[in-house]
Symmetry: C2
């Protein structure tokens, strides 16, 4: 249950409404941990009942901003320093890559070209954002400087995947004359990956 801690972490920056938080999950943070608004609103209610956040203010359209409590701040900190990191990953494109052998070489090549473009574009958007941070356009607080590290991770990941997609297009698998003549749905059993 990382959403809980994600919300606490965002509220540690200052009060925010469910709507604010949902927007942040659609933008920056959602690219590494997606969340839709119904999940966010119900989690906020749970956090509130648990005393980890409390109502900060009411605004115009029955807007309700929450503020993190001391208990809440302690809980994010505990999570960050004590809980073990969950290293499991969900990335559909990497799942697909295990089955590339089932694709027509030309199809595969154009798919990889699309992916390369996607990752390059994303990386370049992130680089622009990182540049602004480096120029101090977001202030120079410890928070801002630390969050620069988060952006760097996303940049490097997307660049690595763009490079991978470019590299893969040069593979001999792309220029296989014998596609369709070999072993689909074969008798197959070879050992297994680590």
């Amino acid at each position: 249950m990382s959403l809980r801690h994600g919300l606490l972490g965002l509220l540690a920056e200052g009060p925010a409404s469910g709507y604010d938080l949902a927007r942040r999950f659609q933008e920056g943070i959602g690219s590494v941990w997606p969340a839709q608004h119904p999940q966010i609103y119900s989690e906020l209610n749970r956090l509130s009942k648990a005393g980890l956040i409390e109502v900060d203010s009411h605004g115009p359209r029955r807007r309700t901003a929450y503020r993190i409590t001391d208990a809440g701040l302690a809980e994010v900190r505990r999570w960050l320093s004590e809980d073990e990191v969950d290293h499991s990953v969900r990335m559909e494109i990497l799942l697909r890559s295990f089955f590339f052998w089932l694709m027509d070489p030309d199809d595969l090549k154009s798919r990889l070209a699309e992916e390369q473009k996607y990752f390059e574009q994303f990386a370049s958007t992130l680089r622009a954002y990182a540049g602004a941070k480096d120029r101090g356009e977001w202030g120079t607080s410890r928070r801002t400087r630390a969050q620069r590290i988060a952006v760097e991770a996303a940049i490097r990941m997307n660049e690595a995947l763009a490079d991978w997609a470019r590299w893969a297009q040069e593979s001999d698998v792309m220029t296989d004359e014998n596609f369709g003549k070999g072993e689909p749905a074969a008798t197959g059993s070879e050992p297994e990956a680590p």
Copy 2:
């Protein structure tokens, strides 16, 4: 619903039982798309009712191996070439990285060192596996060669993250004398990431 297609993709290599498939999800493939055995068994039953797979054989301890049908093979192929790639990602460590500013600098530094080690080790395991593939120890079929691409993606991602963790340890955020004296749970509102 990518598990459905993941199972079809694996069965396209040849017949396998739920147990076999669960093992493969705990090993290689699970590192990009985790799945536990109850989910796998129930999905296999659904796939079987849908006519995308069928019983291939029964073995010793009421082992049931399934085989992919023509309809099933067509469905994986359709998925691979027609369905849009879902680019959403779930990576807890990157979620955490948005909240590094809440951590004690020393805590953070040692956490980053742990992460670096984890990613390096994983990358090196994968590189060993890739090396074996390159030496032809897994055959030279199109499938084997194409799956080499999948392994390369995982290698590059883990290396990128190891590099990132190393880079982050050198950040000025690690050597911040003023931690705890500044703005936690501040009034904060600055604009937002892309």
